[in-house]
Amino acid sequence: MSGYGRTQDASSRHDARNVTLLWLLASAIMTPIVVFVFGPHLPPGHGSNEAAGQVMDNTVLLATATPIALGVLVFIAYSLWAFREREPHLQADGAALRGNSSVQFWWIVATTTVALSLSGYGITRLLETGAGGGQGPEPIALPPHASSALQVQVIAQQWQFTYRWPSFGGVETREIELPAHTLIEFNVTSLDVIHSFWAYQLGVKADANPGINNIAYVTTRGPLAFEVRCAELCGVWHGYMYNGGQVVPRAAFASWIARERLRYAPATRNLTPYSKTYFPEPQRRAG
């Protein structure tokens, strides 16, 4: 016998109503806060179309996760308060409830609906332009006019990124500047081990695999500075494998790349022909 002054059923309905009201209240307060206060500041910012798309995805996920997390927390907090043992000397048991098919059924329906919706949403967004992620050598999520994108090859090696520009004489540079409001096609590859090209503010991440061309699309927006970091452990200097980059107006980009071609002309004479993948020696044990 619970001895809490009400019949069991009325007690239960009373508690259930309390939990539901508390949950609705908490969700009504927290969800707008999370969406409108945190939302605009979610990573990775609005530096490119893909980055802005990720911010939108994160906002949707956060808006969905907030009521779910609050539901669990409110329920637990309420239960710990309402159903705490108040009469330990009685050594009594609680209610012998073993289940409730209706609750279980609707829980399954609700969780499945949420899971399928979130998944469908994410997949749809992914298939638009690839969301800035590496899609392998034959991407299926192509942005419009993908064939006229500016191709930039990202060569990852132990332990720096270099960039090669096939439409500018195949020149290779250490620095990267990109023209604003342009569709860029990153062709990411590696010369040795697995690295990962992560341009944070552009919302781009593509693993650099040796012998594989990993393509990621991004449409830049206005001028900004971005940071490139290696996101896959590649050896002792992995943490130091980073460089900065800039998105600049188109004219500034044109003059920059012309200057780079002059500057790196000696190296360009020594480079192997431009290719989507490279297999430099030594591949096996060095002699």
Partner: protein, 637 residues
């Protein structure tokens, strides 16, 4: 066998001098033969290689074949020294095999340093052994956080830092996969199903000693230059490494074998050795979780062993499985590793689910709510865990057109996980909740795993994952699920079952201090990691953007407090179990589960008479006597 005859069982051996009792098959002999095996293997490896390998070995200054053979023969010697060859050799020679029970003829403390066929002894060996390597892994974590206090000053060498990272991850992911199954499944599963032993007691002991050998092999990596790949061991980076990577291969190969054998043993035991009346719908939920976990271990670990064999061959006999310029595939290792790696993390999560659902009825005084749904949740998580692994490879470029499938499957796995939560919530509802230390840890599990699970939803969404993959966000996610989930459940299990396993009480007061400090410090340590990942900090880095130093310092300070809370637990354990030794009551938690109906200490054969079960272990609030239907003799005697 002469050695078996020298240490004959019976009261005489208890009075024989210590040095005489040390001769025979035990840990000391194991270490001696292990060291001998190392030198033998190393010598053979140095002799057998051909000319080109000799040249490479000389210029590199290391011989990988010698090292791998050294590890192999060392471990074999170790196991022979412990006595694992006795039974096979006896059978091969056509002799009458000794009964399993007769093999555990040691008494007292020496039982724990030899091959024991008493499942309770093996469980305690596991508890201390796994605890020891957990401690080492934790120390490495403290070192990592010390290094990350400043981006532009280095406390440790850059190579050593990566080995720290790899050792921490490997200790935890390798050793601690047996962290719950080792101590608790081995101790509880036979008793909970009404059996006196596991199906294969010698194999049970083997899994323990293999794990200890594995831990030692991993520690030897520091003598060979460490390994630079982290616990995931990616190729081709691993191929480049010094011989420290061979230690990593040896470690995980041994862990894989141990896991496979442990899984088989548990499955066979649960399927074939249940006592009368223990039908599937009465099986304790903890045993269901162990069954699901064992299934995962048996199917996933062999993939790891095969993958590591390929890596070993790349490094020793000049194959090129993972070297692209020679026809190998740079994707192959990642892909195969995660086929193991993803079920592996559910090997860590499922026992946590099982412990919490097993304990909640005791401390809410209600039956487990939604038993069938909970079982469906365990099995659903287990089965689905094999279909999600490529979510670790979303931006790798591998199978990009399959990403929608893996995104969906990863999202779907939240559904059976949700079942577990519903059953936990339902068990709390209208209970009579007692806030004992085990209950506090169970509640913390519910809180921590919630954040781990929610962050998983972000990671399963590919656009969101583009930014968070390989960043500290992922670190926060898996620390919340594995440490916040499993480790907290593990401590719940310790505070709950230690009184029965050891017969002594753990201090409740120290326990509550341990809990609160650990819970607050844990959240303080890992919550900011979500922010660090969102702000662009990659994993496994020794330096980071200077504007992130404030957050990193907060995390490091909290990590030190977290470490202190674990030292507090250690102090509690040593004080209560070694010194104070206050006898525990037979059933301090008034649990209606069968293990609490046995006397403390539990006798060698567990049950005088095998029980007959007439219901599930949760008859709270119902008019049914606690199990077993047949009272064991010795009760109250």
């Amino acid at each position: 066998m002469s050695a078996a005859a020298a240490t004959s069982p019976g009261p005489m051996s208890a009075r024989a001098p210590l040095w005489r009792r040390l001769i025979g098959f035990n840990l000391l002999t194991g270490i001696a033969l292990g060291v001998g095996g190392w030198f033998l293997g190393h010598w053979i490896g140095s002799e057998i290689h051909g000319e080109s390998l000799a040249y490479f070995a000389e210029t590199a200054g290391e011989n990988d074949i010698a090292i791998m053979l050294g590890y192999l023969l060392g471990v074999i010697g170790f196991l022979i020294g412990l006595g694992f060859a006795v039974y096979p050799v006896q059978r091969l020679l056509g002799r009458q095999p000794t009964l399993a029970e007769r093999e555990s003829h040691e008494h007292g403390l020496l039982r724990y340093f030899s091959l024991s066929t008493d499942h309770k002894v093996v469980a305690k060996q596991y508890m201390v052994g796994v605890g020891f390597f957990f401690f080492i892994g934790g120390l490495n974590a403290m070192a990592i956080r010390t290094e990350l206090l400043q981006p532009n000053t280095h406390v440790f060498g850059a190579n050593q830092y990566l080995t720290l990272v790899g050792m921490h991850g490997s200790m935890m992911m390798g050793i601690f996969t047996s962290g719950v199954l080792g101590p608790f499944a081995n101790w509880l599963v036979p008793i909970m199903i009404g059996s006196r032993r596991m199906a294969f007691p010698r194999i049970e002991s083997l899994t323990f000693w293999l794990l200890m050998a594995a831990g030692v092999v991993l520690i030897t990596t520091i003598f060979f230059g460490g390994f630079q790949t982290g616990w995931t061991g990616y190729q081709p980076l691993g191929d480049q490494g010094t011989a420290g990577y061979d230690a990593y291969i040896g470690f995980f190969a041994l862990v894989g074998i141990s896991m496979t054998l442990l899984g088989f043993n548990l499955i066979v035991t649960i399927v074939t050795m249940r006592a009368p009346g223990m039908i599937w719908s009465r099986l304790p939920i903890f045993v269901w979780s162990v069954l699901a976990t064992a299934g995962l271990m048996v199917l996933a670990a062999p993939t790891l062993i095969a993958t590591l064999l390929m890596a070993a061959m790349d490094r020793t006999v000049q194959t090129a499985f993972f070297i692209p310029g020679q026809g190998g595939s740079p994707y192959l290792f990642q892909n195969l590793f995660w086929v193991f790696g993803h079920p592996e993390v559910y090997v860590l999560a499922l026992p946590g689910f099982g412990i919490v659902l097993e304990l909640l009825p005791v401390f809410t005084r209600k039956p487990l709510w939604g038993y069938r749904l909970a079982v469906a949740g365990m099995l659903g998580v287990g089965i689905l865990s094999f279909f999600v692994w490529q979510h670790h490879l979303f931006v790798s470029g591998l199978n990009a057109d399959l990403r929608p499938f893996f995104s969906l499957s990863t999202e779907l796995i939240s559904i059976p996980t949700g079942f577990i939560y519903l059953c936990a919530l339902g068990t709390l509802w209208r209970g009579r909740i007692r806030f004992t230390v085990p209950m506090l840890f169970c509640l913390a599990w519910a809180f921590n795993f919630l954040w781990g699970g929610v962050s998983g939803i972000f990671l399963s969404d590919v656009p969101s994952d583009v930014t968070t993959h390989g960043s500290f966000f992922v670190m926060a996610h898996f620390h919340y699920t594995i440490m916040g989930g499993l480790i907290f459940a593990f401590f719940a299990a310790i505070y709950y079952w230690v009184p029965k396993m050891y017969g002594y009480k753990l201090s409740e007061r120290l326990g509550k201090w341990h809990f609160w400090i650990m819970f607050l410090a844990f959240n303080s340590t890992f919550a900011p990691l979500f922010a660090l990942g969102f702000l662009g900090m990659p994993r496994r880095v020794v330096t980071y953007a200077t504007n992130l130093q404030g957050l990193n310092d907060w995390v490091s300070a909290s990590a030190y407090v977290l470490g202190l809370s674990l030292l507090l637990f250690l102090a509690n354990a040593v004080w209560s179990l070694v010194f104070k030794r206050e006898p525990a009551a037979r059933n301090p938690w008034q649990s209606k589960s069968i293990e609490w109906q046995l006397p403390t200490p539990v006798p060698l054969h567990d049950f005088e008479q095998l029980p007959v079960f007439d219901g599930d272990p949760y008859p709270y609030g119902e008019e049914r006597a606690p199990l077993p239907a047949v009272a064991p003799a010795g009760e109250g005697a």
